[in-house]
Symmetry: C2
Subunit: 426 residues, 2 copies
Amino acid sequence: MKKVGVAILGLGVVGGGTYKILTEHREFYQKTQNVDITVEAVLELNRERALALGCPEEIIASNIYEVVSNPAVDIIVEVIGGVGVAREFVLDALNAGKSVVTSNKELFCKYSHELERAAKRNNAGIFFEASCVGGVPIIRTLLDGLQANHITSMMGIVNGTTNYILTKMTSEGTSYEEALKEAQRLGYAEANPAADVEGFDSTYKLSILSSLAFHTKVPYTKVYREGITKITAADIAAASELGYVIKLLAIGKQTAQGIEVRVHPAYVKKSHPLASVNDSFNAVYITGDAVDDVMLYGRGAGALPTGSAIVSDVIYAATHKEVKYSTFKNTAEAEKGVKFVSNFESAYYLRMSVIDKAGVLAKITSVFAKYNISIEEMIQKNADGDVTPLIFITHSTHELSIRKAIEKLKEYEEIANVDAVIRVVS
Amino acid sequence: MKKVGVAILGLGVVGGGTYKILTEHREFYQKTQNVDITVEAVLELNRERALALGCPEEIIASNIYEVVSNPAVDIIVEVIGGVGVAREFVLDALNAGKSVVTSNKELFCKYSHELERAAKRNNAGIFFEASCVGGVPIIRTLLDGLQANHITSMMGIVNGTTNYILTKMTSEGTSYEEALKEAQRLGYAEANPAADVEGFDSTYKLSILSSLAFHTKVPYTKVYREGITKITAADIAAASELGYVIKLLAIGKQTAQGIEVRVHPAYVKKSHPLASVNDSFNAVYITGDAVDDVMLYGRGAGALPTGSAIVSDVIYAATHKEVKYSTFKNTAEAEKGVKFVSNFESAYYLRMSVIDKAGVLAKITSVFAKYNISIEEMIQKNADGDVTPLIFITHSTHELSIRKAIEKLKEYEEIANVDAVIRVVS
């Protein structure tokens, strides 16, 4: 039976889960995968944490050189996070000819070119299933399951924290601030929640997933990004009334005009499979020219689900020797000739507050007409003092048309405010 | 660039779709997969059909020997169906050292042992992604994506015809007979619909999927099978009222007592992700000890979705040379020592017609008590003449207890009939 030695860098939540899965399933993998996987080294500054997990003293390394020079180590799992030491250690591992399995979306998104060059140079592999959507095998599906297709569209709920917050706001009518506090209390959101709620995390994942789906490097800097911090209980309630739910979506499309990548809150029809993806669950909805629509759903985070993806990569690396998964072009930049579309097409939800004077609706609709925006639905709410809330859902139009129309609307004094602009997906 | 020649046996719906995908995407696969795939031979009795698809005269073979002896053919796609010539041709192909890609669930379910032995003997591969759930990469996910997990449970909607019929009955209140007729009119159901509506098709797929999930041969003969032909509009309406929908599920479980495999209609809570899988869509909901819950959703049939799975296998076979996918034990039978559970645990929905006499409810509940069956919910409907419909949802109990209780209930003359018994999943 083939013997494979693993080292784990970092024994935090995911590292601990990975250690647990590997040690508890050793016999199971011998029987089912015909491979004997042992943890030969761990690198963790907090020695007590390693001992508490049950690591034998002798496998606790003091530094990265001890790990990468250990001949018993074949595969190195990096679950430190960030782009500081994690990047150094991963390069050290690859340069020593060890294959690397990482859950680090920021690292892989920003430095895939450097890592893949190093992997190639040293005939090592770099695997990153755990970097996107936790335990859901989305990377493997894009590479090995849907590779017969031109992928035309991908829409994902790829961040559990924001989905928990939006679900809570939807089911209980709470404000964004209250829902965030509850998420922090439960450990779903960090003390500084910006990476999640401002959409950075989703942006990194979309960069990785759309690079695979569209077969070209999609730098995260090309992704339009908008978080969920401005979503109000009023918008959630209006969504429900109109037959929608609000989700933070990571959208990638390949159109005749170019690639379109964006992360923003969106109105999703209640009948759409993504609408029932709730709490901290994640899902990715993919459309291919042959397969039509496919959705993968599951836990996007957590010690064991993410550990499942890491160990899946370890087994894959151990049993598919010729596959190195270096599938991106070796560049940090978008390739020449690849176009990115920022003036994308979408329908829109608009909520505004108007002073209830004769002719105000005529003014608004004439602005819409000027920018070729047609209205699918309009709701006028009861006036709140002097101010009347108006809600519009438009037909499909262009991003720039909406922005220009809003600029124009703001010039009228009867329009007290444009309170919310949220894209609608069908 | 690696050159790979493909032959297609059978140019029906799926064979035609496969031909179209391979020929239209040739350049795309050269660019993205670094492999040049060409269709070198087709075997189709209806020569006109081959010509209408655009096959050049010179690739239309007259017999299987021409195909398997063609040195330009590396991979043979079998999409004939059934277990007659399909079995012979697949064995001919493997014996000639060609790798085989098949969509034939009946063949693979019944003869995997023979095919895998032949593949191994000839150092060829046998790939069968298209045999289950159309374009959804469920086989790849079980083998390469969730392999780190002990899979404890699998629940699938794996037959599009029956799901279309049940969806139609649910959304429009039509009878089973009407919905079946509409499915036949649309081409979703065959003139003789038994393979679908009696659950045979789901049984074959469950045998394949649970063999992979549980790492041991699960013969289809071990699967408990019940179709949808007895489902009535009354049961569909009661489900809706109680917060459920009825789905034909293929269920596989691995418990301490053994393996449990069954295909039957089931009450599924409306909040469960499987409940919103409608029309001809399919989905498989998998629970693993590390990954927790994962669901894959997509089109379970059709020329291009199934073609997507076939071409995915062709590319996989062409680019993963060392992987042969012969992962079952080489036996047609269950291995010694593997136990199958038939007295499984479940909750139940029971609908009965009773004569409205004093004491009838006491008699029923005392029978339930005798067999340790406790009631979660009861509904008494308005009497229809002398007969009153009674509906019960039980808590979890055992299959044998329910069967014995029903036998006992039938002895009472006040109980005119036990009209429906449907298992409830949570």
